[in-house]
């Protein structure tokens, strides 16, 4: 197993602290201020994205699902384009088209975006993976999804081909056991999504998704496999959805036992750092996010002309 170097641990913790600061801010913001759309909080579920993204190169392709912001931060985005976007401002990553459901992308960082029809990222990620295979550019593509989204047909269609063609593709499942208010096990052949790997003859790995280091380690292996031309891996990170499906969700459906084993990813990762590094990084992250939030709030709102922008590219 490839344990992360101290510098990487510091970087991971810093990113997780930034994500956490944004998450807490968004929970407050959506409660107390005007917010357009729905925010799907990721607070408490940051370890899997941070750990997995740390195993990727900056030119690897990431296609994420929209809970929280840790994937974008993990892959290298700054807080400002994220917050600007969530507040629907012109300095957001989508340049004014933003709102509740994140559609951040950053091509330089290999952040390819999110599809709001869940399960759409599987074939898209196979597309970038095939591009890499044809161009022999050594990049890996990662498709992130939730346990509920493992039921989409595109999961199967894509993996039937990706396994046959040994595409440099990683399926990364954040299994929190919930699909909005439904226990996924009631509507899924297998409570362990990793089981599905068996049908395709690819490795299926279960990992503690609250532990960023554990996630990092299994992802490093999957990445190495993919880069070596050995094909896809399905990683299943067992995670906990601390909050409602969306900020403000009354959660009438919530099983009181669900959270009893919850462990905080930030605390788990802090234990791997020395001295007061964690505290220092949290302070630093909070400050960065506070600055970005002010800048986002101060930024101009889009006017209606944004609607007619970016539909077609003019050569």
């Amino acid at each position: 197993m490839a344990a992360p170097e101290p510098a990487l641990l510091t970087d991971m913790f810093h990113k997780m602290a930034v994500s956490r600061a944004i998450e807490l801010l968004m929970l407050r913001h959506t409660r107390e201020e005007r917010f357009s759309g729905w925010w799907h909080p990721g607070e408490g579920q940051e370890a899997a994205p941070i750990g997995a993204a740390a195993a990727l190169r900056s030119d690897d392709y990431l296609w994420y699902q929209g809970r929280g912001c840790a994937w974008a931060i993990g892959k290298g985005m700054d807080p400002l384009p994220i917050l600007g976007d969530l507040l629907g401002k012109m300095n957001g990553a989508t340049r004014g088209k933003g709102g509740g459901v994140p559609h951040w992308s950053d091509y330089g960082l290999g952040i390819m975006g999110e599809g709001a029809t869940l399960g759409s990222v599987y074939p898209l990620a196979a597309g970038s993976a095939l591009a890499s295979k044809i161009r022999k550019d050594g990049r890996v593509s990662l498709a992130d999804f939730g346990d509920g989204t493992a039921s989409r047909g595109t999961f199967h269609e894509t993996m039937m081909h990706a396994a046959a063609w040994k595409l440099p593709l990683i399926y990364f499942c954040e299994n929190n056991g919930l699909l909005v208010g439904t226990r996924t096990e009631h509507v899924s052949a297998s409570a362990d999504i990793a089981n599905l790997a068996k049908g395709y003859g690819i490795p299926g790995v279960i990992v503690d998704g609250q532990d960023a280091v554990a996630v990092y380690e299994v992802t490093v292996e999957a990445v190495a496999r993919a880069r070596a031309g050995e094909g896809p891996t399905l990683i299943e990170a067992k995670v906990t959805r601390k909050h409602g499906h969306y900020a403000g969700d009354p959660q009438h459906y919530r099983d009181p036992d669900y959270l009893k084993d919850y462990r905080d990813p930030l605390e788990l990762l802090a234990a791997r750092l020395s001295g007061n590094e964690a505290a220092r990084l949290i302070e630093q992250a909070d400050a960065e996010v506070a600055v970005a939030y002010e800048a986002a709030k101060a930024a101009p709102e889009p006017d209606a002309s944004v609607i007619e922008r970016d539909l077609y590219h003019v050569a």
Binding site: V101, A116, T184, H252
Partner: protein, 327 residues
């Protein structure tokens, strides 16, 4: 006949409950229906009918719609809440090929009841893949009935008709009206027939032909126009397939001016068919072209403000009607 004031989604739910009580071949399936439904329509269903007839489903829209087709052909009456109209494009084969054509292709003439609920339109920042109006697909591909209620009363009455209809019905509920309230008849025999439009406001100067979310906006526009001396008739189509051409043509031949207003994209939307057909069938009665208002031909933006800026407002409807009256 007693009435109760209730929300649009709740009224839809009431229509369903009444029919489920009367006919145990009806079941409902969808994501989250066991816990009452994402938008409240299915509240209380599971406690009354149990998990045999109220089924949660995973994220698998093609499966949901295909299952409806199979169950309906096998004699059940499935109701599927698809969650969002946008997902019509995920389950397109199952809806516009299977549900629409299976009997036809197999030369069968048997009843086949299935209600597919598609919540359509803007609901305040749900974004371009959770706000689509897909009802025009049901007009183009033959074999389905297509309804879009605009009031709580119609939501109930059309749901009941849909469940008594021996053909698959695409039931487009309007997300923007989900919490709007209205008087709803409690009589279990009350239905709203599929294929009958409602003239919501009589007028003599021009006809606004609309449905769904644009009905209240058109009515408000008509009030403003009235204060300017323009007397607009407002027709709520309620059903797009079959479409109540008698009602539309009677109005247009009387007012000599017509415009169509909907939330769907303007280009190749339902209004295209309606305008094309009005001018075909009433050309020499028209004193002006049939105008159309629909959403701008751009995906809906994420922000609730831009969303509203993209779809017809009371202002734009009023303005366009004013222009029409002056042609």
């Amino acid at each position: 006949m007693s009435h109760e004031v209730m929300g649009y989604n709740a009224a839809m739910g009431l229509g369903l409950v009444e029919e489920m009580r009367a006919d145990d071949s009806i079941f409902i399936m969808g994501q989250g229906v066991v816990t009452g439904g994402w938008f409240g329509m299915e509240k209380g269903l599971v406690s009354e009918f149990g998990t045999d007839r109220v089924l949660d489903c995973g994220i698998a829209e093609a499966f949901e719609a295909g299952l409806a087709a199979g169950a309906a052909i096998a004699g059940m009456k499935p109701v599927i809440n698809m969650g969002f109209g946008d997902f019509a494009l995920i389950a397109g084969d199952e809806i516009y090929h299977k549900l629409a054509k299976w009997r036809y292709m197999h030369g069968l003439d048997v009843p086949m009841t299935a209600v597919i609920i598609f919540p359509i339109g803007a609901m305040g920042g749900a974004g371009p893949e959770h706000s689509s109006c897909t009802e025009v697909l049901g007009m183009h591909f033959p074999g389905l009935k297509v309804v879009v209620p605009s009031t709580a009363e119609d939501a109930k009455g059309l749901m009941k008709s849909a469940l008594r209809e021996p053909n698959p019905v695409l039931f487009h509920s309007v997300q923007g009206l989900g919490w709007s309230r209205g008087e709803v008849p409690l009589d279990p025999d009350f239905i709203v027939p599929i294929g009958k439009a409602a003239t919501r406001r009589a007028g003599s100067d021009l006809s606004i032909i609309t449905y769904g979310s644009m009905v209240p906006r058109s009515l408000e526009a008509a009030e403003r126009l009235a204060s300017e001396g323009v007397d607009a008739e407002v027709i709520d189509l309620r059903s797009l397939v079959p479409l109540d051409w008698d009602c539309v043509l009677e109005s247009v031949t009387r007012t000599h001016r017509a415009m169509v207003v909907h939330e769907a994209f303007r280009t190749a939307g339902p209004g295209a068919e309606i305008a094309a057909q009005i001018q075909e069938r009433a050309f020499f009665d028209l004193e002006a072209p049939v105008l159309r208002l629909g959403a701008k031909d751009f995906p809906l933006c994420q922000s609730a403000e831009l969303e509203q800026a993209a779809i017809p407002s009371v202002d734009t409807i009023t303005g366009e009607a004013r222009r029409l009256a002056a042609i």
